[in-house]
């Protein structure tokens, strides 16, 4: 039977035991909760305007969050050349599937067999 140490202790020296981690996590939450009871602000009230965020400007835009197509816009913009290249390969063309299959079979055949002779 495998023990925990045998699996999860490699040369990096990490001992990872999930139950322990969960226990630490719960403990942290308890500590935070107890700590918060005494040191956080107590003048928060439900059912008042305090709860709502302060909005200025057009309300419709706020009710509708940023569309997912616009998320990570900067990431896409920064890597634009990579994405134009990689998306040109994913056109959904059946001939392309076959092209890539035959190409990879040919290349792997050459690599594995080391040439025809």
């Amino acid at each position: 039977m495998f023990t925990v140490e045998k699996i999860f202790t490699q040369n990096t020296g990490i001992i990872w035991y999930p139950l322990l981690l969960v226990a630490i996590f719960l403990l942290l939450i308890c500590i935070l909760w107890i700590w918060g009871r005494y040191y956080f602000r107590n003048d928060y009230n439900k059912n008042t305007a305090q709860v709502k965020p302060f909005n200025s400007g057009n309300l419709d835009e706020i009710n509708y969050p940023i569309r997912s197509g616009n998320l990570y816009w900067g990431f896409k913009k920064a890597l634009e050349s990579y994405f134009t290249f990689i998306e040109s390969l994913h056109k959904g063309d059946l001939n392309d599937y076959m092209v890539w299959l035959f190409l990879s079979i040919g290349v792997v055949l050459l690599l594995v067999s080391g040439g025809l002779l």
Partner: protein, 119 residues
């Protein structure tokens, strides 16, 4: 000589079918190409089983035991299976091609391309 031509036929059938898979854009043409590849593979198996001057692996009308030489039965049995499987594949692919045509009014791969992205 025979073996040379038989194997050339096998390899060329498979080759032609695969070239058609790269260059042909009609959904039904692709099914024909698949059928030709399958015919090549079937012929390969039967050619592997063949022995010259042999008889079919059936004892009912075979010559006497002394000079009895038979072709191998297993590849033939497998090819029987493979023919029916190939027919099933063909039928299903044609059905799907018909439905694709009815929903999109084209059988051309280029016109169907990118059709998933704009739902």
């Amino acid at each position: 000589m025979t073996d040379f031509f038989l194997y050339v036929t096998v390899v060329l059938l498979i080759f032609f079918g695969m070239v058609a898979l790269i260059y042909k854009r009609n959904l039904i043409k692709i099914v024909i190409a698949l059928n030709i590849i399958e015919a090549g593979i079937n012929l390969l198996f039967i050619a592997l089983a063949y022995r010259p001057n042999g008889t079919a692996p059936i004892f009912t009308l075979a010559p006497a035991l002394g000079e009895l030489k038979m072709v191998l039965p297993t590849p033939q049995a497998l090819i029987l299976t493979n023919i029916v499987i190939g027919f099933g594949t063909t039928a299903l692919m044609l059905t799907l091609a018909i439905l694709t045509y009815q929903n999109n009014h084209t059988l051309d791969i280029r016109k169907l391309r990118g059709v998933e992205n704009n739902d």
